[in-house]
């Protein structure tokens, strides 16, 4: 077999294209990540750092009232930087506090009816935090339950054309069928929305490029 024949055979077997639906879904998840990432807000970095520094000082010097008030906040709330600041202090004593907070925030966002693209983005942040606590299986379980809730909500929110389904019952049947199509067997339901971020302790950095995953 010649080299060009081998190349052609490889291309024929493995050359594929991203289908438009998958591309749209992936880009929406990436956009959500860009939107929820704190560093993504243009021009806000210095202000946020100042707020965080102030909050850290307050958290250390003031009684716990402020910290308590910030406890149930989610990204976008005024007191959220306070929560992050106290979290940094608390995480010295309890490494799981960050992961627990991120999971609680996803739950709160779901309960508040925050748009799902933002929730999905924050779920990914939570995944990262949980991945750092791999030994705490209950956190992983909680994460997976949340992922399933989000997936169910996404399926429930999916619009249907009036000409496709008439009665409400028909729509319900369709939704159940879709769910079965998308998440067969034991596949974690939200894994096609986002996937767990794994530790990459064996990854080596080199040369001029930064190591992927080290952001």
């Amino acid at each position: 077999m010649r080299r060009d024949e081998l190349a052609e055979r490889l291309r024929r077997a493995y050359r594929v294209e991203m289908d438009p639906d998958t591309a749209a879904r992936q880009l929406s998840v990436v956009s959500a990540r860009l939107g929820t990432s704190q560093a993504s807000r243009p021009g806000g970095g210095r202000f946020r750092r100042r707020v965080a520094a102030l909050a850290t000082a307050l958290a250390v010097t003031l009684p716990g009232g402020l910290a308590l008030a910030a406890e149930g906040t989610v990204p976008g709330d005024v007191l959220y930087p306070v929560k992050l600041a106290t979290e940094r202090v608390r995480s010295i004593f309890d490494a799981a506090v960050t992961a627990e907070h991120r999971l609680e925030e996803v739950e709160t966002m779901l309960e508040r009816g925050v748009p799902l693209d933002r929730v999905v983005g924050h779920l990914d942040v939570a995944r990262d935090a949980v991945a750092d606590m791999a030994e705490r299986e209950e956190l992983q379980d909680r994460l997976e339950r949340l992922a399933k809730r989000i997936r169910d909500r996404m399926i429930a929110d999916r619009p249907f054309g009036d000409d496709e389904e008439g009665p409400v019952n028909g729509r319900r049947d369709r939704q159940v069928d879709d769910r079965e199509d998308v998440a067969p067997g034991d596949t974690p339901p939200a894994d096609d929305v986002t996937r767990p971020h794994d530790r990459r302790s064996d990854r080596l950095g080199d040369g001029e490029m930064d190591r992927p995953g080290d952001g």
Binding site: R9, R195, E208
Partner: protein
């Protein structure tokens, strides 16, 4: 300017986490990344996940990205490679329970060329990566060197060995 002028134009936007820049980079690279991941994993869905994860990692690491479009492209391939390795490692740890597909259901592992798949599986991961990056992802020797952390001369030598072995394996089937 690198040989990817369209990507070169997006690097600044990526550093600033511009959604438009990310969308353009995705449009320009997703098919190549997906094809490479598919060759590594033989599973379309898992390959799509590997690509998505790479872009999420890029979203996180964007401000630290240096270089031009070629560097960015290599960064993404490198990230996809790591994601594929993670997935392969996960499979080894937890082998999936085989299930019988329904008669009309397309099999997810739909690589029609079974001999090729088997031959590829007998290469080392590094050899497989080089062969796929070259012939499926369309990367140059220089780019492959950036992805696998080597130099161009070593890549060409290793690639030649890998291709020779692959041809030998295919001819033996």
């Amino acid at each position: 300017m690198s040989e990817y002028p369209e990507l070169d134009e997006q690097v600044d936007g990526v550093r600033r986490r511009s959604e438009a820049a990310f969308a353009t980079v995705y449009r320009l690279t997703a098919d190549d990344l997906l094809s490479y991941a598919y060759g590594m994993l033989h599973d379309r869905t898992a390959a799509e996940d590997a690509v998505q994860q790479a872009f999420l990692e890029l979203a996180r690491a964007a401000p630290t990205i240096r270089g031009d479009g070629r560097t960015l492209r290599a960064w993404l391939f490198r990230s996809v490679r790591y994601n594929c390795l993670d997935e392969l490692r996960r499979r080894r740890r937890r082998p999936e329970t085989p299930t019988d597909p329904l008669p009309d259901e397309p099999v997810d592992d739909d690589v029609a060329d079974v001999d090729l798949r088997r031959a590829l599986d007998r290469l080392t991961e590094r050899q497989r990566t080089m062969v796929l990056l070259r012939h499926v992802g369309g990367l140059s020797g220089e780019e492959i060197a950036r992805v696998v952390g080597s130099n161009r001369v070593a890549v060409y030598a290793a690639l030649a060995r890998a291709e020779r072995r692959l041809r030998h394996l295919l001819e033996a089937t």
